[in-house]
């Protein structure tokens, strides 16, 4: 099956980051339509499309928007999550650096739908170039009346600010991101209440991933039925995959959900494996690894879930024999230990111990280590405050269960 480039169609063409280019390719037409619509009709269209969050949790986007309290006088906020810290992921980078107006248009539609007049793009510290491009795009959109006060003479106002993070993986978690936006350490909040009712400054806030918001203009202009005609019942639309690691052609690929398998993506599009294939991490570092014999799985949320892993952010990391699998396991847990925010004990202590034990295994001290790891996993499982710690449990468990003898 060939690629279906919806979001990426014009990404990377000459001048694609400019407003002029964007307007020349139908840009802001969906927003103009949305600005004349009843907000509930916008929400219903996104709900009907079946769009699910692309940051990793796959939560239905329209439902999230619908949860924002309706008869509530408090100001609301739209926040685009461009923290993109999941190792192996660089899809949002492609959108915001090369086609920033697509994100801004998606945010504007979301703002109209939930009645927000202020929005933020939270961009990770590692992407200063993206921050600059986004700031320029916002200024350009404001100059031409696509953002700011009284947009297109409709009376609707929406101001977007670009906010640079400080370098913390956990800030990709939406409540930690909100804390960071409030000028604090990025510790996740207890949920509920969810950000839709108690978010930024305690106000109703929708936090959506960049790729998620970038789908919205297409849903508005072409309709939910068109959107649903792509992908599967549970995973409609297209998904951007980033392939990296031990492959010949690392890069960004967009497919309809379910059109191809993980093996096809690697072998037919990413140029095949360099050296000997050892495993594939299908959705970014925090998703459980799959063995070479498990790769004939269709790329959908539901199929990867059934295969015991997750679609995550769509970041496919191909693990070959360039480094020992024990080193891959150790480095994965080292990352999670490093990025554990320290708020809850099971994650803070557990991830640190896991990293240490995997390092010992890598150094050849295997005696009793796997038993110890399993003991620590029992102490963490279901007890961590946020998905980072639970992710560490799943990731460590997969390395132990699938490669126990080979570590």
């Amino acid at each position: 099956m060939p690629e279906t480039r919806i979001i990426l169609e014009h990404v990377g063409e000459k001048g694609s980051e400019s407003l002029e280019f964007y307007l020349g390719h139908g840009g802001y037409e969906a927003a103009e339509k949305a600005l004349s619509m009843n907000p509930q009709d916008i929400i219903d269209a996104v709900k009907a499309s079946g769009l699910r969050g692309r940051g990793g949790a796959a939560f239905p986007t329209g439902l999230k928007w619908d949860f924002v309290p309706k008869d509530d006088p408090r100001p609301r906020f739209v926040v685009a999550n461009c923290d993109e810290g999941e190792p192996g992921t660089f899809k949002d980078r492609e959108i915001v650096e090369k086609y920033p107006h697509l994100l801004l248009e998606g945010m504007l539609i979301a703002a109209k739908a939930i009645g927000a007049n202020r929005g933020f793009v939270y961009v990770r510290a590692e992407y200063p170039k993206a921050q600059g491009i986004l700031r320029a795009a916002v200024a350009e959109a404001e100059r031409h009346g696509y953002l700011g006060e009284n947009i297109r003479g409709t009376g609707f106002s929406f101001r977007v600010q670009i906010y640079g993070g400080g370098g913390a993986y956990i800030c990709g978690e939406e409540t930690a991101l909100i804390e960071s936006l409030e000028g604090k350490r990025g510790h996740p909040r207890l949920r509920p209440p969810y950000p839709v009712s108690y978010g930024l400054y305690g106000m109703p806030t929708v936090v959506n991933n960049v790729e998620t918001l970038s789908n919205v203009p297409f849903i508005l202009s072409r309709g939910p039925d068109w959107y649903r005609s792509m992908g599967t019942k549970d995973s409609p639309g297209t998904k951007i995959f980033t392939v990296s690691g031990g492959v010949r052609k690392p890069g960004v690929y967009e497919f309809k959900f379910g059109d191809i398998t993980l093996r096809e993506l690697i072998e037919e599009y990413a140029g095949g494996v360099i050296g000997k294939l050892v495993g594939v991490i299908p959705g970014g570092l925090s998703t459980p690894i799959l063995r070479p014999e498990e790769l004939d799985v269709k790329l959908t949320c539901e199929d990867l879930h059934r295969a015991g892993s997750l679609l995550g952010s769509g970041a496919v990391i191909v693990v070959n024999d360039a480094v020992p699998i024990a080193a891959v396991a150790r480095r994965s847990l080292e990352f999670l230990a490093h990025e554990s925010c320290g708020k809850c004990t099971p994650c803070r202590e557990g991830s640190t111990w896991l990293a240490r034990l995997f390092r010992e295994i890598e150094l050849g001290k295997k005696n009793g280590r796997i038993e110890k790891i399993n003991h620590i996993l029992d102490g963490m499982r279901g007890k961590c405050f946020c998905p980072l710690g639970e992710g560490a449990v799943a990731v460590a468990g997969a390395f132990i269960n699938k490669y126990g003898e080979e570590l």
């Binding site: 993109e84 906010y163 400080g166 000028g183 690691g245 360039a322 080193a327 480095r331």
Partner: protein, 159 residues
């Protein structure tokens, strides 16, 4: 410092709540002074109506906020999975060898420093670095790194 204070006040005015200007103010300090210095922390605290300890507490949470000065060319060397698979540990070793310094230290001429980093989102050009915020890669041979360092030395010499 007065200009810096003015900038903080401007940042403060951009946000619905002043506290949100804290991290942008810290970035401003890094841009002006090369790091979040104790004087900068004190100025930020005063302008935002908080304590320097709070500024430090927030800053210390974030890995990329610079608390000490770095070289004119600062390398964040990614060693996360995709870069590691493509040879990041070799690159890290060449860094140490060619610069003759441990991670975090600045070369005697003030030009270079480097540190290990988590994923920088440049997995399609692994093994990659962020060089003063710009993605560079793949740096998969010692020769490539050596040429890059030479180019930067020339750049510094011409300036």
């Amino acid at each position: 410092m007065n200009e810096f204070r003015e900038k903080i006040r401007a940042l403060k005015a951009e946000f619905p709540v002043a506290a949100s200007a804290l991290i942008p103010a810290i970035h401003e300090a890094e841009a002006r002074f090369g790091a979040l210095t104790p004087e900068a922390s004190a100025a930020i605290a005063e302008e935002l109506g908080t304590k320097p300890e709070h500024v430090e507490a927030v800053a210390s949470f974030y890995h990329l906020i610079k608390r000490e000065g770095v070289g004119r060319f600062h390398f964040l060397v990614c060693t996360n999975l995709s870069c590691m698979i493509c040879g990041a540990y070799d690159l890290f070793g060449w860094m140490r060898e060619l610069l003759g310094k441990e991670p975090g230290a600045v070369t005697d001429d003030g030009l270079f420093s480097y540190e290990e980093a988590e994923c920088i989102g440049a997995c399609d050009m692994a093994p990659a670095v962020l060089l003063n915020g710009e993605r560079v890669g793949p740096i998969n041979t010692r020769e490539k790194l050596s040429q890059l360092l030479e180019k930067l030395r020339k750049e510094a010499g011409n300036a």
